[in-house]
């Protein structure tokens, strides 16, 4: 904590910081170098990366062999749409918790009452499903029965204090995706649990596996808790006095929203969008498991390089650079704003 620096100290710190910074950045730099080498030179890189010639051929080969354009298009669609869809859910939720906070639960039923309601309703649904032979022959019945579980849970969380609601949302993010994988697969799949011929309606031509209609909501849900929390911390810091002044002047709720709140909230919303974009861009678990081509993002595109034939490092490097450069640039330009949101209100 040198509070007063001598020039000598400053030089030392500069050198140390640059060395560490370059070391951390080095794997990316190294990949970038390998991407511009021929395949056999890439394998001998540590010895002679300066003397070997530079080439652009790998980028062409990657495009020809694995169709980069298709995957980056898919990534942009999934990351972009899931961010927009996420905002539709997250902005009202965060706004509600920031401006109409509940310091304590709004009803005074005991925890046991809630437990009884949730499990009573859910258990009843399970029993009905069981006597119908589990796989319900009627699609709507299944949905109604599922709501018998989902609605009481939502109602319980809804009536909690804001802090607890927030933490509950975050705890859904802790659910291991592995636990849901096969269920989601069967829910999404043609001839799975939903998209099949139900007799009164034939859904057997539909399918969410490897489709944007499946991936976009899924990625949105994955990141929703994080972006609600981030937006909440931004909204909470907005100066409330201005809002109150507007109200004194007789502004309607609509005016309050569009003319006062939105302009103030825009920077926060923008950084939240960026974070969601980065998380969605880099999402791997569901992309690797649920997509093959038509909705497969760049994560998947790269994973196919884990074992191609023969020498592939220069191609792997070129593909990697093509996959990370867009989001790296976005990240670089937005890092200052991002960081404030990423502290999730822990830093005043």
């Amino acid at each position: 904590m040198a509070l007063k620096q001598t020039t000598g100290q400053k030089i030392t710190i500069t050198i140390v910081a640059w060395v560490i910074g370059l070391l951390l950045f080095f794997p990316i730099l190294w990949t970038a170098i390998a991407a511009f080498k021929t395949e056999s030179d890439a394998y001998t890189l540590p010895q002679n990366f300066l003397t070997t010639p530079w080439t652009l051929e790998n980028f062409g080969i990657v495009q020809e062999r694995s169709d980069y354009v298709l995957y980056i298009r898919n990534t942009v669609i999934i990351a972009g749409l899931s961010t927009l869809l996420g905002l539709v859910f997250a902005v009202p939720a965060a706004w509600s918790m920031a401006f109409a906070p509940q310091s304590k639960p709004t009803n005074n039923w005991s925890g046991y009452t809630w437990l009884a309601i949730i499990f009573g309703s859910g258990g009843l649904a399970a029993l009905i499903l069981y006597f119908m032979g589990w796989h319900p022959t009627n699609f709507l019945v299944g949905i109604i029965l599922l709501l018998m579980f989902v609605v009481p849970v939502s109602a319980w969380v809804w009536t909690r204090a804001t802090k607890d609601t927030l933490l509950w949302m975050l705890s859904t993010k802790m659910m291991p995706p592995a636990g849901a994988l096969i269920s989601i697969y069967l829910l999404f799949n043609r001839n799975g649990l939903v998209y099949k011929d139900w007799g009164w309606i034939d859904l057997s031509d539909y399918n969410l596996v490897d489709s944007f209609w499946g991936m976009v909501p899924l990625v949105m849900l994955l990141n929703l808790p994080i972006i609600i929390w981030m937006l909440y911390t931004y909204f909470k810091e907005l100066p409330v006095e201005i809002l109150e002044a507007a109200r004194m002047d007789g502004a309607s709720l609509w005016n309050e929203l569009t003319q006062v709140l939105t302009p103030m909230a825009m920077p926060g919303i923008a950084s939240t969008c960026l974070l969601n974009l980065i998380l969605a861009w880099n999402e791997a678990f569901w992309s690797l498991n649920l997509t093959n081509k038509f909705a497969a993002p760049l994560s998947f595109f790269i994973s196919e390089y884990s074992s191609p034939e023969g020498q592939f490092w220069a191609k792997l490097s070129a593909a990697s650079i093509m996959a990370i450069v867009p989001i790296l640039i976005v990240g670089w330009f937005s890092q200052k704003q991002l960081v404030r949101g990423l502290t999730f209100g822990a830093v005043k």
């Binding site: 697969y185 309606i201 539909y206 399918n207 081509k293 196919e304 034939e309 592939f312």
Partner: protein, 435 residues
């Protein structure tokens, strides 16, 4: 009401199929593996679509393990994402028996398919998948390094000869390893090699009552020999080397010998990719004098899932891809060495193809493998380097991980065999084979 609900659901569930229903032409979605021969086929699809203007091809190219997992999930839930599947000799008999595949008709001269390959892709005499290329395994070696070590490769080597040669060729100071073998875990990776090696040592996966046999002396000898030769003459990091890693090592001149798929041969002698292209020799897989050689038998084949609405178009495509015409076209444009090998008797009778250096040895290797009687002692299963039961994929992968760990030095051979025995016994009990 019905149409409203359907419309709403449809909006949430736009299917890839919905777009194809609008188009007048049939679109075939083909799941395929990302190896050289298959990718080459994608370049020549014009030849097919010109002859069949109503059919459009849509390729889903996946890495081998990925392909297996995704195709298995899709077909067992009748998902119907793919109209043509690329599967192997392991899946075809299991799925054919279950009625998950359409028996193929209208193929180009099916009697011409090599009997061992056709047998492995049929159930009760009905062919359920048409082979695109077939492979066995053999030994690829560097003639120059053999000469330098003062050795001559025999036409029917034994394990002792191979191990001695590997030791003599090893020159680690110059980055030359005597032998490169698969070590990366997976039933189609290291277990393909170790499994066929075990056959030549007289070992087997299961006895007639489905009891695992990893506690036998034969398996001990197999694994100890494998570990020792890899320690003495293998490359660093061998436990991470699969087919493609070893190919890269061999192409860059870091291996004296490489025992692997016959389909690799054309890549080792391709001067554009291989630094040692003019020095490669081929010989049959070694044995131990017990009557079985350490070579596997595999074919990547094309099949149509049952319940598909596009069977006719799919059969047309499969027939084109596995035809003699396709082979001749590749020969004309890319040279005979690049024709998909190992499927047709007529290819090996062709005097032009006989000039390809690995042709005769490939045929000899494929004929030496017998999926019906793969081992010295009798077994209840079919398959050379695998057992065609549904549980094998999981067991083979886990056992492969244990052997790979032994190769990395994280376990001893005995520990790995014990772990493999325990794991396999538990799985076979769970599956109900062991009562």
């Amino acid at each position: 009401m019905k149409s409203v609900v359907k419309g709403v659901l449809g909006a949430f569930a736009l299917a890839s199929l919905a777009t194809t229903a609008l188009a007048a032409e049939t679109t075939l979605t083909i799941a395929t593996v990302n190896n050289g021969d298959m990718i080459r086929m994608q370049k020549y699809t014009d030849d097919f679509t010109k002859a069949n203007p109503g059919i459009k091809l849509n390729w889903v190219t996946l890495e081998e393990n990925d392909l297996r997992q995704k195709v298995t999930k899709d077909i067992s839930t009748k998902g119907g994402q793919y109209d043509v599947l690329t599967i192997g000799m392991y899946e075809t008999p299991i799925w054919g028996k279950k009625g998950w595949l359409v028996p193929l008709k209208g193929l180009d001269d099916p009697k011409d398919i090599l009997p061992a390959v056709a047998g492995g892709l049929s159930v009760d005499g009905k062919l359920f998948a048409a082979p695109f290329y077939g492979e066995s395994s053999f030994v690829m070696y560097r003639k120059d390094l053999m000469a330098k070590a003062g050795l001559k490769m025999s036409d029917a080597p034994t394990w002792d000869e191979i191990i001695a040669a590997a030791g003599k060729m090893t020159d680690r100071a110059n980055g030359v390893n005597g032998i490169c073998l698969r070590g990366k875990a997976g039933w189609g990776e290291n277990m393909a090699f170790i499994g066929s090696m075990a056959n030549s040592f007289g070992a087997r996966w299961f006895d007639e009552k489905w009891h695992p046999q990893f506690d036998t002396q034969e398996w001990k000898d197999t694994l100890n020999t494998y570990l020792k030769v890899m320690k003495d003459s293998g490359p660093a990091g061998a436990s991470g080397n699969g087919f493609s890693e070893n190919l890269a090592l061999f192409q860059t001149g870091k291996c004296g010998m490489w025992a692997d798929a016959t389909a690799a041969a054309s890549f080792t002698i391709d001067p554009k990719a291989s630094k040692v292209a003019d020095q490669v020799g081929f010989t049959i897989a070694p044995d131990k004098g017990l009557g079985k050689r350490a070579n596997w038998l595999w074919a990547w084949a094309l099949a149509v899932p049952a319940g598909s609405k596009k069977v006719d178009a799919a059969e047309k495509f499969i027939s084109w891809a596995t035809s003699k015409h396709y082979g001749e076209m590749i020969a004309a444009k890319e040279g005979w060495a690049n024709v998909p090998p190992g499927t047709r008797t007529s290819l090996y009778a062709n005097p032009e193809y006989a000039k390809v250096p690995f042709a005769a040895m490939t045929l000899a290797s494929m004929q030496a493998a017998d999926p019906l009687h793969p081992t010295v002692k009798p077994v209840p299963y079919v398959g050379v380097q695998f057992a065609s039961i549904p549980e094998f994929a999981g067991i083979g992968t886990k056992v492969g991980e244990m052997f790979s760990a032994a190769l990395a030095g994280q376990m001893t051979a005995d520990e790995a065999l014990k772990a493999a025995q325990d794991y396999t016994t538990a799985e076979m009990t769970k599956a109900g084979y062991i009562k």
